[in-house]
């Protein structure tokens, strides 16, 4: 035989080997990456530009050699021809280099690619952030939103050239009205809290039209979203809390007892932030109406009841719908959101401009201040410059049409089924304060009751990061100590939920047993536990060039 004497002798790996720290800080595929200012230098550029011509007479001697390339303080040198002419920059010309990071193209590509790999999103894994409805975003939505007829139009185009887009807005509006059993809809608000403001302003306009602008109180139960009292206060109302019952719902008797001629309305989140359906909604609405007030419903959790419950049947006067939650237009990371507000017959006349109206001949018109005429004299005003979030409208309508009425009903059913599966899988491991209140809706709520001394919800959340999950919502709602609010959504498979349950069960058992390694978790993330106190006491808000050590001579 012939021998390949290369020295390579294939063999099984030695078991039990321990990793030693790496010189680079990289851990295999988990690559460290510095801030963009800390890599490269200001004198490098990935693109060549011709030398800038001098800006004669404008204060800035653009032709100073090395200007902007890292040399210190090039002196402005107005050229002789410019002497005496006006300084067009009013003395605000730049006197120091701009200090932009200088990276070559491959360095730039690697920088952003490495950062993107340190990110976590719904396309990567389970994202059970309670009250945020982080569900899968169907790619069909994206395909439709990118059609040139939707993506390449401008809000100031003549309406005759954008009939298709206006038709989408009208079609979506019709679906939202039908699904909620309401009378009208304001499509323009840009997100949930913006929609809340729209609803409250419509209520205020309706009260003022009746000569009852003196009503200054908005009642907000403890189980409402935090934005509700903020919205009411922003609109100039005084907020009064209504307590929750032991089972996590609005204390209906306390609410009814508080009603009176000074109450403008109530803001109720349904399903509420304890993940429970407010069963007394109809009773509450009737009582509020009898007392001369209006009912605002925070519809951020509509995902749990779409196709099953029509808020209009519950006596609600205004409710925002988060298209970016219920109808899966993407959110997280800053938006964009979209928060249309459905309105009752009583409030519809007061809704904002502009809106799309379908005329008898099938033509879509945009009703604005100039065209509202006598048909819409009570509109409270305008929330936004243009029509709303067109890109979200196309996505939401695609989602609605691709699911159909039966599919939307199944969305709610599966979201509730998944949440109850989590609630009942974990209620022997963790304390479920409202577990006895019956089935939950789209989210399951646990407390930190029963953890070892010194351990809190944040330790469980950090432990979940090591297990590869985005943590749940923590310490909210405030009515539960150390709250953990888990929303799986309908788009997770049983296998994915089972894996999450196994991970949370393991981390929770460690927290109950006082496993100290949990106090410094996460250990496997690009960064371990941050010192939030130090970060808040001595915040570093901008990158500063380090002072170079003087070279020893």
């Amino acid at each position: 035989m012939s021998i390949n004497a290369s020295g390579w002798r294939p063999e099984a790996p030695v078991a039990g080997g321990k990793a030693s720290p790496t010189v680079t800080g990289n851990k295999g595929l988990m690559l460290e990456e510095k801030l963009i200012f800390e890599i490269g230098d200001v004198e490098t550029t990935g693109v060549d530009f011709a030398e800038a011509p001098p800006l004669q007479g404008r204060g800035w001697g653009g032709a100073v050699p090395g200007a902007g390339l890292g040399e210190t303080s090039p002196t402005p040198s107005p050229s002789p021809e410019g002497e005496g002419s006006a300084d067009l920059l009013a003395g605000l010309f730049r006197t120091t280099p701009i200090g932009l990071p200088g990276l070559s193209e491959p360095e730039t590509v690697r920088h952003y690619t490495r950062l993107s790999r340190q990110n976590y999103g719904i396309d990567l894994g389970f994202f059970p952030l309670g009250s945020c409805t982080m569900k899968h975003n169907p790619r069909l939505n994206e395909k439709m939103a990118r059609l040139p007829g939707f993506a390449d139009i401008h809000p100031l185009q003549p309406v005759d050239s954008v009939q298709g887009a206006l038709g989408v807005i009208h079609e979506l509006a019709t679906w939202l009205i039908t699904l909620t059993g309401m009378h009208g809809v304001a499509m323009s608000p840009k997100a949930g809290a913006h929609g809340e403001l729209c609803g409250i302003l419509a209520i205020r306009a309706a009260l003022e039209a009746k000569g009852e602008g003196h009503r200054k109180i908005i009642l907000v139960p403890e189980s409402a979203h935090g934005t509700n009292p903020a919205t009411a206060a922003f609109a100039g109302y005084q907020v009064e809390d209504i307590p929750a019952t032991a089972e996590g719902r609005v204390d209906t008797q306390a609410l009814i007892a508080r009603l009176g001629p000074d109450v403008a309305g109530v803001m109720i989140t349904n399903p509420n932030t304890c993940g429970l359906f407010e069963r007394d909604m109809r009773t509450i609405s009737d009582a509020v109406h009898a007392a001369g007030g209006y009912v605002y419903c925070d519809g951020a959790n509509f995902n749990a009841i779409v196709g099953r419950v029509r808020p209009g049947d519950l006596g609600i006067d205004a409710m925002h719908i988060n298209l970016h939650k219920t109808f899966s237009t993407p959110h997280g990371g800053g938006g964009p959101g979209s928060g249309p507000v459905v309105l009752s017959e009583a409030l519809s006349p007061f809704g904002p401009l502009p809106f799309v109206a379908k005329q008898a001949d099938g033509h879509f018109a945009l009703i604005e201040e100039e065209t509202a005429g006598d048909d819409h004299p009570h509109a409270f005003g305008r929330m936004v410059a243009f029509h709303g979030q067109m890109g979200m409208f196309t996505r939401a309508l695609t989602y609605i049409l691709s699911h159909g009425a039966d599919g939307l009903r199944q969305v709610a059913e599966d979201a509730v089924l998944n949440a109850n599966y989590i609630l009942r899988s974990l209620d022997t491991t963790l304390d479920a304060p409202f577990g006895a209140s019956g089935p939950c809706m789209h989210e399951a709520l646990f407390s930190d009751n029963g953890l070892a001394t010194g351990f809190s919800t944040i330790d469980i959340a950090k432990g979940l990061i090591d297990e590869g999950f985005h943590p749940m919502t923590m310490y909210f709602p405030l009515v539960v100590h150390g709250a953990m609010l888990i929303e799986p959504t309908e788009t997770e498979s049983k296998a994915a939920i089972d894996q999450f349950v196994a991970a949370l069960r393991s981390v929770a058992e460690r927290a109950k047993a006082g496993d100290v390694s949990l106090k410094s978790a996460p250990h496997f993330a690009p960064r371990s536990r941050l010192d939030e106190t130090l970060a808040a006491r001595k915040p570093v808000l901008v990158w500063k060039e380090p002072v170079l050590a003087q070279a020893a001579e």
Binding site: E532, T533, A536, R537
Partner: protein, 123 residues
Amino acid sequence: MSRYFTEDHEWVEVDGDVGIVGITEYAQSQLGDIVFVDVPEEGKELAKGDEAAVVESVKAASDVYSPVSGTVIEGNAALADTPGLVNEDPEADGWFFKLTLSDADELNALMDEIAYKAFVEKL
């Protein structure tokens, strides 16, 4: 000298017509690490219940209400650089401000130490 407490977890230590105000041990334990404190300036007139100071932790920013009416003599300057004093010693070195009481009768509506302790235990 005697010390009084409010239901909003402020304490006031009174000596003659001068009161020293701070937040209680229970309050600091609930807030977590304090990262910023804003104390009132000398000469500020406060009515009982007025927002007198702000205390901020990683968790939340909270208003501190004046337990009594009066005129501020001095804010605790040490808290600007070492807000952590409120965590370490909330009922002594971590005081917020001193004021001249304008109505000593207001003290009658406050709790003494035993009553405050009982109040906290029920929370």
